[in-house]
Symmetry: C3
Subunit: 134 residues, 3 copies
């Protein structure tokens, strides 16, 4: 089962919660057991999983990544968004989550986030669910 959806990100750098949207797609798919793949077809945003409770965790991740990969480093790429490209490769463009009894096997504190590093923009997310027949 493949499904695409779009998110309009709100800031230059921000994490957007996609957990509810993806959980709903799993429910609608009626797939009982298998794997859910979240894929980001962009090069300046990424996907990660992290704490869904205290929003300070996301702020700390964003702030610290900005520190490790500063916006104004000594970069060559003329578009000025090399930091976004670097941070995206560090977090990655896909998440792979088991599906069990028609639900994601996320931990209690886990949420799935689109990590915008060069927004605000409209971003596409591709969800692919592969059924396990056994």
């Amino acid at each position: 089962m493949k499904h695409d959806f779009c998110i309009s990100t709100e800031k230059k750098v921000c994490f957007m919660d996609m957990t509810a949207s993806i959980a709903q797609l799993i429910k609608q798919s009626k797939i009982k057991n298998g794997m859910c793949f979240v894929y980001i077809p962009h090069t300046t945003c990424a996907v990660t999983i992290n704490e869904n409770a205290d929003p300070d965790v996301r702020s700390d991740i964003i702030k610290h990544l900005n520190k490790i990969v500063p916006q104004d480093g000594n970069y060559m790429h003329a578009e000025g968004n090399s930091a976004a490209h670097i941070k995206s490769s560090m977090l990655g463009f896909s998440a792979s989550i088991p599906v069990w009894r028609n639900a994601l096997t996320l931990g209690t504190w886990q949420g799935i986030y689109l990590c915008e590093f060069d927004g605000p923009r409209q971003r596409k997310i591709i969800i692919n669910v592969i059924k396990d027949d056994k």
Copy 2:
């Protein structure tokens, strides 16, 4: 084939070798060809693959990540474990390894490690193996 197991991590920050446990699950599954997915349902530990020979490699990875993401940064999250959240997102919560002739296609020097960044704790690992029918 889905299977969960638990690991009691031994220190605040440490890498625990899961290779033998996962290799055994593959063997027991009798699945010949497909994909093995390792999933971590937590937000302050991660999974990585790296050298299984010299333990200094793991020590160097741990030490350097602590340098890049210091335990006592200027973080807002009140629980004091933001460094663990950040390092977990950097390494990631899943590993995807092909299965061929009922075995993981790990390279000669590759081992699969649970990366504890906020232990010691009991951690759950979810293994999902999807068969390739062709």
Copy 3:
């Protein structure tokens, strides 16, 4: 469908474009819909996805990773390539890309790169494509 191929990397640290090779394997597989997994069975090189247009983006990623993880840090591993091990774990050893209508669902600006951090060497890449039957 599993297929291996080799790449001879050209420098100590470089990104090698694998997009065309993987796209061709998908075409040959005749698999319409499913998932493509790229797996690196090594510990000092990785795989990432990033911009395929301006080569300065890859140069900026390489240069900045070398800054965050310097070649000559205070490492213990006697082989002298700890930086390569650390950078490989940061970018990761697999990429998971949906396949739709017998093609990778890469974004317009996305290419798939082998990230050599301890070359030049011959490297093996494992491609596994799992069909989605539904």
